[in-house]
C-alpha cells in the first residue's frame, strides 16, 4: 500500500500540495475567532442530566445564580462596630453599582431586614441603610440585637461568633465573572485594613478566578511546550533547518484542531489547555520518525534529490506512522465512547481528531516540505548509527533478553506493588482543589467555611401539584421535618427556608422568645395570614428566594462546610433516600440541585465509567496490535508494557495520594494510546530482523535495536518533555495530570525496552522455536534556601485597664512589649510560605529550637521540606553584649560541611523572606534604643496605636526602616499589625498577626504574615506543635550537631 509510487504521486507537485494544505489549515484555524470559553462546573454535566435541569429550575423560579462573596473579618473582635458596619454598607453599595451583579440580589446586613414582634405586632426593620454613614454606639448595639433575634441570618450574614460578616452579590453573566472578580478585588484593596481583613470567595469568584488561571496557563504553557519540544527535535538532529517541518506540523495540528473545535461550537473547557499540549507532543513524535528515516535515506544515497530521499523515507516509515496514529486514536476513542462528561468527551474526540490530523499532515505534507525545504545535513546520520545513546539503549534491552525470567519477575514484583498502591486510590475532587493552598481565593474559601455555615451549597426544590398548596400547615410541617432531617447529616451546618421565617413570624405574633426550634402556626389559613401581615411592613419581594408567588414551589438552601465529593457523598445519598421515601408519589415532590449535587452526579459518573473506559481502550489497542501482527501472542507482547505502565501509574497515584478525578482519569487512556507506540515499533522491528536473519537473538538485538530504540527514545523524550510542561501549569489538577502522563510516557518506553526482549526470549523458550514473523516492516525520546528564624512571641497574660494604657507613654508601651516573656526555651514546627507578586509560592517546613540565657539567644532551624533543602541547618548565637559579634553557622547537606558564616546587618533581608534579621531577632518587640515612641491613642477596636521613629538617620539605615505604626493588643502586648515605612517615608510592608494562642500561660503568635507593598511579595509563618521548656540540651545548639540532621523528638 505504501509503495514508492504513492509517495511519488504525493510529492509530484510539492508547492501545489503545500498551498492546498495551507489553505485547508487556514480555513480550519479560522474558527479560532469563534472560540468560546466555559469553565463552570455545570459544563461537566450532560445538558440533559436531571441535576442540571433542577439547577435551571432553581435559577428560573428563585432567581438564584452563582454569587461572589465578600467577607469582612475582624480576627480578634466583632463586626458589630461602627467602622465595620460602615465597611459593609460601602461594599454593598459598590457591589450594587457593578454591571455584572444583580442590584436586587446583593445581600448583606445593609440590604436585609429583621423580623420582630412588638406587643403582638410584626415589625420588619432594616439593619442599616447604605446612606446612613457611620453609626453611633447605640445604633450599633441596636443592629446587633436585631441580628441576635434572627436565627436565619446567624451563620449566613454574620458568623455565629460575630467575627465576620459577608456580602453576597449574584452574577448576571458567569462568562464575565473574571472581570467582576478583579473589580471587586481592586476595590477591596483600596479599603483601610486597620484590624479588619477582606476576602473574596464564592462560586462566582471561583469561576472568575478559574478563567483567569486558564488564560494565564494557555499563554504560558503553549510557548514553553513548543520551545521545549523544538529543542528536543534540535537535539535529535542538531540542525536548526530540521525544525521547519516539525514546527509546521505542530502549528497546523494545534490550530487546525482547536479551529475545528470552535467551528463545532464546542467550548474551550479548563482541560482543553491539556489538549493543546498533548497535540504538540503527539505531532512532533511522528515528525521525528519521518526525519530520522529521511536522514538515513540521505546518508545511504547522498547523490539522490531531496524529493527522492523523502519518498524513500516515507516508503519505509509511513506504515508505522499510520499504525501508531491509529493506536493513539484508539486510546482517545476509548474515553470518548465511555465518558459522558462533555469536556472529557470533547477532549477525547478532538484529541482523536488531532492525532489523525497530525498523522495526515505527516504523511501528506511533511514529504513535500522536505522536498521543497531540505534540511541541512546532520553529521549524526553521516555514518555509524551506533551512537553512545543507541549503544546504551541496546545494552539495556540485552539485560532483559539475557535474564528474561529475572527481568519478568522484577516487573511482576513491581506490578504487584503497584497493585497495592492502586488499591489505595481515592476518587475525589473539589473545585477549590484547583487552586494552590496559598491562593487568596482558597484561603478566603477556607476562612468563610470556618467562619460561616459554609461555601458549598445544596438546593432543595419542594414542589406541590397545585397553587397555594404550600400555604397548608401540613405541607409546611413536612418542609420543616425535612430541614430537621437534613441538619442531622454530616457537614450540614445550616438550612434556610420559608419555614424559618414563618417560625419567626409566629414567635413575633405569639410573643414567644426567639429560638432555633421551628414552630409553625397550626390554625387553618394562618400561614397565608402571617405572610399578609409581613407584607404590611416588609417588602413583597423579601421571600422571593424562598417561595414562588403561587405558593407551589419552595426552596431550601443547605449550607455545607466541606467542598469535596467524598465529604458530601453520604449526605447527598441520605437526603435523596429521604426524598424517595417521603416526597415521592404524594402531593409534594422534591428535587436536589446545587453545586454539591452536580459534583456528586458527575463524580458518580466517573466511578461508573472510568475503569470500563480503560478496559475498552486496552481491548481496542490489543485488537489492533493482534491484527497488525496477525498473532495473538505478539499482540499481547505489545500490550503488556503499556498495561504495566497503567498499573504502575495507578500505584503511584495510590501511594502519593493523587486523587482520581476527571483530568487525572484521562491519563490511562492517553498512556495506552501513546505508550503502546514504542512497543509496536520494537516488536515490528525485532520480528523483521528475526525473519531475515539466522543469528542468535543477541545478534538480532544488536542489529535491530540501535536505530529503532534511538528513535523511540527521542519520541518518548519529546512526549515526556511536552507533557511535563503541564506540571508548570497554575492549575494543580493539570500539574498532576502532566506529571502522571510524563511519567507514563517514560515508563512505557522503559518497560517496552526492557520487557519486550525478555518476553521475546521467553516466548522463544516456551515454543522451542523462534516466533514466526508475519509483518514485513516497521520502524523507529538547592538551593541555597536557608533559613529563617522568627520565633513567635509570647507574654504572660496581665489584664490591663484600657484607661491606663491610653495614659502610658510610647516608650512605656514599647517597654511593656519588650518585657513580654517568651519562655526560656521552645521547640515548634514552622511552615513558611513565600509568595511572589504573581502568586507563585514556595513552601518550607522547618523545626525551630530556641533557647535564651542571660548571655545570648540561640536559635537553630532545621529544614524538613521540600526535599531540595532537607536537613539544611542554620544556627545562630546572638549575644546580648553590645560589643560581642553574633555567630552563625550553616550546614548544607550537598557540601557535607558545617561552615561559619558572617553575621548580616540587621536591616538585611533574611534569606528569601520579607523579614529582616532585626525582625527575626526581635520576636515582635521593638529595640528600645532604635526608636522614639509615641502613643497615638486607642483605635476603634481597643488596640493601642504606637508609632516609632528611628532616633537617627544612621539607625534608620541600619535597620532599614523609616518608621512604623503598630496596633498593640493591651491584653497580650503583642503588636497585631505593624505598618513599616521605608527611609523615604513610603509604605514598605505590613506585618499582621492573625492567630494568637495561650500556650503554657504564654501568649504566642502562631500565624504571622508580612506583605511587602513595594515588591508585592508576601511571607507567611505558621507555627504548630509549639512547646515551651525550662531548658533544652546544649548539644542542640552546638555547631557540630548541625551535620546530624533534624534532632530526634
Amino acid at each position: 500500500m505504501f509503495n514508492a509510487k504513492l509517495f511519488e504521486r504525493i510529492t509530484a507537485n510539492p508547492k501545489l500540495a503545500l498551498f492546498v494544505a495551507a489553505a485547508v489549515i487556514v480555513a480550519m484555524s479560522a474558527g479560532l475567532s469563534q472560540l468560546i470559553k466555559d469553565t463552570s462546573i455545570e459544563a461537566f454535566v450532560p445538558t440533559d442530566h436531571p441535576s442540571l435541569a433542577a439547577n435551571n429550575q432553581v435559577r428560573e423560579t428563585f432567581g438564584l445564580t452563582d454569587a461572589i462573596a465578600v467577607a469582612v473579618v475582624a480576627p480578634e473582635g466583632t463586626v458589630f462596630t461602627s467602622a465595620n458596619l460602615n465597611h459593609i454598607a460601602q461594599i454593598t453599595d459598590f457591589l450594587k453599582g457593578l454591571d455584572n451583579l444583580r442590584k436586587d440580589r446583593v445581600v448583606s446586613l445593609a440590604t436585609e431586614s429583621s423580623i420582630q414582634g412588638i406587643e403582638g405586632a410584626v415589625e420588619v426593620n432594616e439593619y442599616l441603610d447604605i446612606d446612613d454613614g457611620p453609626l453611633a454606639a447605640d445604633q450599633v448595639a441596636r443592629v446587633r440585637a436585631q441580628w441576635q433575634a434572627m436565627p436565619p441570618h446567624q451563620g449566613t450574614l454574620v458568623s455565629n461568633d460575630e467575627s465576620a460578616a459577608v456580602i453576597m452579590g449574584e452574577i448576571v453573566d458567569i462568562k464575565e465573572a473574571q472581570d467582576t472578580y478583579q473589580q471587586v478585588r481592586t476595590y477591596i484593596s483600596t479599603l483601610p485594613t486597620n484590624s479588619v481583613q477582606f476576602h473574596v470567595a464564592g462560586p462566582g469568584a471561583v469561576s472568575g478566578y478559574f478563567s483567569a488561571y486558564i488564560e494565564q496557563d494557555a499563554r504560558k504553557l503553549l510557548p514553553i511546550g513548543f520551545a521545549l519540544v523544538l529543542l528536543f527535535v534540535f537535539l535529535a538532529f542538531r540542525r536548526a533547518s530540521a525544525l521547519t517541518g516539525p514546527l509546521i506540523i505542530i502549528l497546523s495540528t494545534v490550530t487546525g484542531t482547536l479551529g475545528v473545535m470552535a467551528w463545532c461550537n464546542v467550548p474551550y473547557y479548563a482541560i482543553t489547555n491539556a489538549l493543546a499540549v498533548v497535540l504538540v507532543a503527539i505531532a512532533v513524535a511522528d515528525a521525528i520518525h519521518v526525519l530520522s528515516a529521511y536522514y538515513e535515506a540521505r546518508a545511504a544515497k547522498p547523490a539522490q534529490s531531496s524529493r527522492e530521499h523523502a519518498v524513500t523515507a516515507m516508503q519505509s516509515i509511513a506504515k508505522p506512522v499510520v499504525l501508531t496514529t491509529l493506536t493513539t486514536m484508539v486510546g482517545f476513542v476509548g474515553i470518548g465512547l465511555v465518558s459522558v462528561m462533555p469536556p472529557i468527551v470533547a477532549f477525547a474526540w478532538f484529541a482523536c481528531f488531532g492525532s489523525a490530523l497530525a498523522g495526515l499532515l505527516t504523511v501528506l505534507v511533511l514529504p513535500n516540505l522536505l522536498a521543497v525545504l531540505p534540511p541541512a545535513q546532520s553529521k549524526l546520520f553521516s555514518g555509524d548509527l551506533n551512537s553512545p545513546l543507541a549503544g546504551t539503549l541496546t545494552q539495556c534491552a540485552k539485560l532483559g533478553a539475557a535474564k528474561p525470567l529475572l527481568m519478568t519477575s522484577i516487573f511482576v514484583v513491581v506490578a504487584s506493588l503497584a497493585g497495592v498502591g492502586a488499591g489505595k486510590i481515592q476518587i475525589d475532587r473539589s473545585q477549590i482543589d484547583n487552586f494552590s493552598a496559598d491562593e487568596p481565593i482558597r484561603i478566603a474559601d477556607e476562612l468563610i467555611n470556618q467562619k460561616f455555615a459554609g461555601t458549598a451549597f445544596l438546593n432543595l426544590v419542594v414542589s406541590a401539584k397545585q397553587d397555594d398548596a404550600l400555604l397548608e400547615t401540613k405541607n409546611m410541617l413536612a418542609i420543616a421535618d425535612l430541614q430537621h432531617f437534613i441538619e442531622q447529616q454530616p457537614h450540614v451546618n445550616k438550612t434556610v427556608s420559608i419555614a424559618d421565617y414563618l417560625s419567626l413570624l409566629d414567635a413575633a405574633i405569639e410573643t414567644r422568645p426567639i429560638s432555633n426550634e421551628r414552630r409553625l402556626p397550626t390554625a387553618e389559613d394562618a400561614i397565608a395570614q402571617y405572610l399578609l401581615i409581613y407584607e404590611a411592613s416588609g417588602s413583597p419581594t423579601d421571600f422571593e428566594e424562598e417561595i414562588d408567588p403561587y405558593y407551589s414551589t419552595a426552596l431550601i438552601r443547605i449550607f455545607l462546610d466541606a467542598p469535596r465529593f467524598s465529604d458530601n457523598k453520604q449526605t447527598v445519598e441520605n437526603i435523596q433516600q429521604y426524598l424517595d421515601d417521603n416526597f415521592s408519589g404524594g402531593e409534594l415532590s422534591a428535587t436536589l440541585a446545587g453545586e454539591v449535587n452536580l459534583t456528586y452526579h458527575w463524580m458518580q459518573q466517573l466511578i461508573d465509567t472510568h475503569f470500563t473506559g480503560i478496559a475498552v481502550s486496552l481491548a481496542l489497542v490489543l485488537g489492533i496490535a493482534c491484527l497488525m501482527f496477525r498473532s495473538v501472542l505478539f499482540g499481547c507482547i505489545a500490550v503488556v508494557p503499556v498495561a504495566f505502565t497503567v498499573l504502575a501509574i495507578y500505584g503511584v497515584m495510590g501511594f502519593t495520594g493523587i486523587n482520581l478525578e476527571p483530568p487525572t482519569s484521562m491519563f490511562a487512556a492517553i498512556a495506552i494510546g501513546v505508550g503502546v507506540d514504542f512497543a509496536i515499533h520494537l516488536v515490528a522491528r525485532l520480528r523483521e530482523v528475526q525473519t531475515n536473519s539466522e543469528q542468535s537473538f543477541d545478534a538480532v538485538l544488536t542489529m535491530a535495536l540501535p536505530s529503532t530504540a534511538r528513535a523511540c527514545f527521542f519520541n518518548a523524550a519529546a512526549l515526556t518533555v511536552g507533557f511535563s510542561v503541564l506540571t508548570i501549569s497554575d492549575l494543580p489538577t493539570l500539574q498532576r495530570f502532566g506529571g502522571l502522563i510524563s511519567l507514563a510516557a517514560l515508563a512505557s518506553f522503559a518497560a517496552s525496552l526492557l520487557l519486550i526482549p525478555a518476553l521475546f526470549s521467553l516466548a522463544s523458550r516456551l515454543h522451542q522455536e523462534r516466533p514466526t514473523p508475519t509483518l514485513r516492516r516497521s520502524v523507529n525520546p538547592a538551593a541555597v534556601a536557608v533559613v529563617i528564624l522568627m520565633v513567635a512571641t509570647s507574654m504572660s497574660s496581665e489584664p490591663a485597664i484600657a484607661a491606663t494604657e491610653s495614659q502610658l507613654t510610647g516608650t512605656e508601651i514599647a517597654e511593656r512589649i519588650a518585657a513580654r516573656p517568651a519562655g526560656k526555651a521552645s521547640t515548634r514546627q514552622l511552615k513558611m510560605a513565600l509568595t511572589d507578586r504573581r502568586g507563585r509560592s514556595r513552601e518550607r517546613l522547618a523545626v525551630v529550637h530556641k533557647s535564651s540565657t542571660e548571655q545570648d539567644q540561640r536559635t537553630r532551624i532545621t529544614y524538613l521540606e521540600p526535599k531540595a533543602v532537607r536537613n539544611v541547618g542554620f544556627l545562630s548565637h546572638d549575644f546580648h553584649q553590645l560589643n560581642k559579634s553574633d555567630e552563625r553557622w550553616l550546614y548544607m547537606p550537598a557540601t557535607r560541611k558545617v561552615r561559619r558564616i558572617p553575621a548580616s546587618d540587621r536591616g538585611d533581608y533574611f534569606l528569601g523572606t520579607d523579614f529582616t534579621f532585626a525582625d527575626m531577632q526581635s520576636e515582635l518587640k521593638f529595640e528600645l534604643a532604635d526608636y522614639q515612641f509615641t502613643n497615638a491613642g486607642l483605635n476603634g477596636d481597643g488596640l493601642i496605636q504606637l508609632t516609632g521613629t528611628p532616633v537617627s538617620k544612621s539607625v534608620a539605615k541600619e535597620i532599614g526602616y523609616g518608621g512604623f505604626t503598630a496596633l498593640v493588643d493591651p491584653n497580650t502586648w503583642i503588636p497585631m499589625q505593624i505598618d513599616f515605612s521605608d527611609r523615604d517615608g513610603s509604605p514598605l510592608k505590613t506585618v499582621l498577626v492573625s492567630k494568637v494562642e495561650n500556650i503554657s500561660d504564654i501568649w504566642t503568635a502562631q500565624s504571622i504574615s508580612t506583605q511587602n507593598h513595594q515588591t508585592g511579595h508576601k511571607t507567611e509563618f505558621r507555627f504548630s506543635d509549639t512547646q515551651y521548656h525550662e531548658t533544652l540540651a546544649a548539644k542542640l545548639f552546638a555547631s557540630a550537631s548541625l551535620s546530624r540532621g533534624a534532632p530526634k523528638p
Binding site: L235, R238, S387, P388, L389, G391, T392, L393, T394, Q395, C396, I728, A782, A783, V784, A785, L834, D836, R840, R842, E843, R844, P866, K867, A868, R870, S885, E887, R888, A894, T895, R896, K897, V898, R899, R900, I901, P902, A903, S904, D905, D908, Y909, L911, G912, T913, D914, T1015, H1017, K1035, S1039, A1040, R1044, K1048
Partner: protein, 411 residues
C-alpha cells in the same frame, strides 16, 4: 525517598560543537528503623556527547577504582554507581556511621587542604561541585562528643584513587607537570613513555582522627590521617625499566581554624605531608623522590554592601627542599574570588568566580546565573573561560571554554 534529576547541555566555544548532553538521575532512600537510619543513594548518568569521556566512561579509570566497588558501565556514555549506602545510629551523644560514605574534613570552597579522606573525579576538572564529584568509600566513622572536645575517628579500608580524564577527553591533563615533564598532545592523546597501571589495594591501616573544640572565638580542629595518595605516581620497574602507574600511602597532619567578626568570617587550614612520593625527571629518565609538602590556605567570607556576598581564598602549596628534577612546580599559589548576588527573594542567583594561579599567571573565570523556578526545579546558565599558558594548571584547558545550560529537579 527522593529523586534528583539533573540535565546539562554544554557547548564548546572554541570547537563550536556540543560538549555535553547529559542526564543524571540520583535516587535516594532514607529508612529509619529504631535508632538507626539507613541511607542508600545511587546515580545513573548518561552523556550522549561523550566529549568529557571519549575514552569511555570508565575505561581509562577502571584501575583507579577498588575492584570491589567499581561503577558499572552501560554502553559508551552511561554509568551506574552506588553513591551512599550506610547505616547511622546514635549511642548517647555519640554518632556512628558505617558503610559507603563521604567524610569531609575541610571547609574551603573549590580547594582542598584538610579534605583528605575521599578521592575526587576530575572528569570536569574542578568545575563540578565537590560534593558531586567526590568519590565515596566504604568506611566507618565514629563521631564522639567528649565534653568540650569532639573526636571523629574514621577507618577507611577501601581504596580508590582520583578518577582522571582520559587522554582524549575534554579536560585531559595535558600540562607537563602531569605527564612526566612532557606536554601531551591533546589531539592524539599519545603519552610517552607508555605506562602500565597497577590498581591501588585495600589496606586496613588507613583512616584518621580529627579533634575539634572551641578555643575562645575560634573553632579549632587538628587532623591526623593516613590515606592513599590519590594522585598516581609513575615508577620504574626494576626488572624491565618500564614505567608502572602506582599509588602509595601518605600521612597527613593538619590544623584548621574558623571564626567570625561581624560581617566577616575567616578560616585557615594548614596541612603537612611528610615523605610524600613525587615524580622527578632526571637525565637518565623518570624517577621518584620522597619529599615533604606544606599546604596553607586562608579564606574570608564577607557580606559586602549592596547585598553582595564575597569569598576570597589564597592557597600556597610547597614541596620543601625540592630538587630541580621535580616534575611538578616547587610551589603553587592559587587565589580564588567569588562574588554572589541574589535577587528576587533569593530565587535568582548570580555567581562570578575567578580562580588564578599567581605563579603561572593563568586562570579560570566562571559566571553562573541560576533561577529557582519553584521549590523543586532550578535552571542554570553558565560560562566557563580558561586563559593562560597552555602548559599551566588552568591554561591547559584553554580549548575547553564552554557555555552550559542545566536544570536540576528534585522529586
Amino acid at each position: 525517598m527522593s529523586l534528583a534529576t539533573q540535565g546539562t547541555y554544554g557547548y564548546a566555544l572554541e570547537k563550536q560543537e556540543s560538549q555535553q548532553a547529559q542526564i543524571e538521575m540520583t535516587p535516594r532512600g532514607e529508612f529509619i528503623w529504631s535508632n538507626t537510619t539507613f541511607v542508600i543513594e545511587g546515580r545513573a548518568r548518561f552523556d550522549e556527547q561523550r566529549q568529557l569521556s571519549r575514552t569511555g566512561e570508565l575505561q581509562y579509570n577502571e584501575n583507579s577504582y577498588s575492584s570491589a566497588d567499581r561503577p558499572a558501565q552501560l554502553g559508551g556514555g552511561a554509568r551506574i554507581e552506588l553513591r551512599d549506602a550506610y547505616a547511622e545510629f546514635s549511642l548517647g551523644n555519640h554518632l556512628f556511621r558505617l558503610g559507603k560514605q563521604q567524610i569531609v574534613w575541610g571547609a574551603l570552597d573549590g580547594l582542598k587542604v584538610a579534605d583528605v579522606l575521599n578521592p575526587q573525579s576530575f572528569r570536569e576538572f574542578i568545575l563540578d561541585d565537590f560534593g558531586h564529584s567526590r568519590i565515596p568509600l566504604w568506611s566507618a566513622l565514629a563521631d564522639l562528643s567528649l565534653g568540650r572536645w569532639r573526636a571523629e575517628l574514621a577507618w577507611v579500608p577501601q581504596t580508590s584513587a582520583h578518577e582522571l580524564p582520559g587522554p582524549q577527553d575534554t579536560f585531559a591533563f595535558t600540562a607537563a607537570r602531569f605527564n612526566l615533564g612532557q606536554t601531551r598532545d591533546a589531539a592524539t592523546g599519545s603519552l610517552a613513555p607508555q605506562v602500565t597501571v597497577r590498581s591501588p589495594r585495600n589496606k586496613l591501616n588507613r583512616g584518621g582522627l580529627r579533634l575539634s573544640r572551641r578555643v575562645g572565638p575560634l573553632d579549632m580542629s587538628l587532623v591526623a590521617a593516613r590515606s592513599l595518595d590519590f594522585e598516581p605516581l609513575a615508577e620504574v620497574n626494576s626488572g624491565n625499566s618500564q614505567l608502572t602507574q602506582t599509588y602509595r600511602s601518605v600521612n597527613f597532619y593538619g590544623l584548621s581554624a574558623e571564626s567570625s567578626v561581624g560581617p566577616l568570617a575567616l578560616r585557615a587550614e594548614v596541612g603537612w605531608r611528610p615523605n610524600r612520593y613525587f615524580n622527578t625527571l632526571t637525565p637518565t629518565g623518570p624517577s621518584t623522590a620522597k619529599l615533604d609538602q606544606l599546604t596553607m590556605a586562608i579564606a574570608a567570607d564577607f557580606n559586602a554592601p549592596a547585598g553582595i556576598f564575597a569569598n576570597f581564598q589564597l592557597l600556597h602549596d610547597e614541596v620543601r627542599n625540592a630538587p630541580n628534577a621535580l616534575v611538578r612546580p616547587e610551589r603553587d599559589t592559587i587565589a580564588t574570588v567569588l562574588l554572589r548576588r541574589q535577587f528576587r527573594y533569593d530565587t535568582l542567583t548570580l555567581d562570578v568566580r575567578w580562580y588564578g594561579s599567581l605563579d603561572e599567571h593563568d586562570g579560570l573565570g566562571r559566571v553562573q546565573l541560576s533561577y529557582a523556578v519553584n521549590d523543586n526545579l532550578k535552571v542554570n546558565l553558565g560560562l566557563d573561560r580558561f586563559y593562560g599558558d597552555p602548559n599551566g594548571l588552568f591554561g591547559q584547558f584553554a580549548g575547553a571554554d564552554r557555555v552550559t545550560f542545566s536544570f536540576t529537579h528534585a522529586l
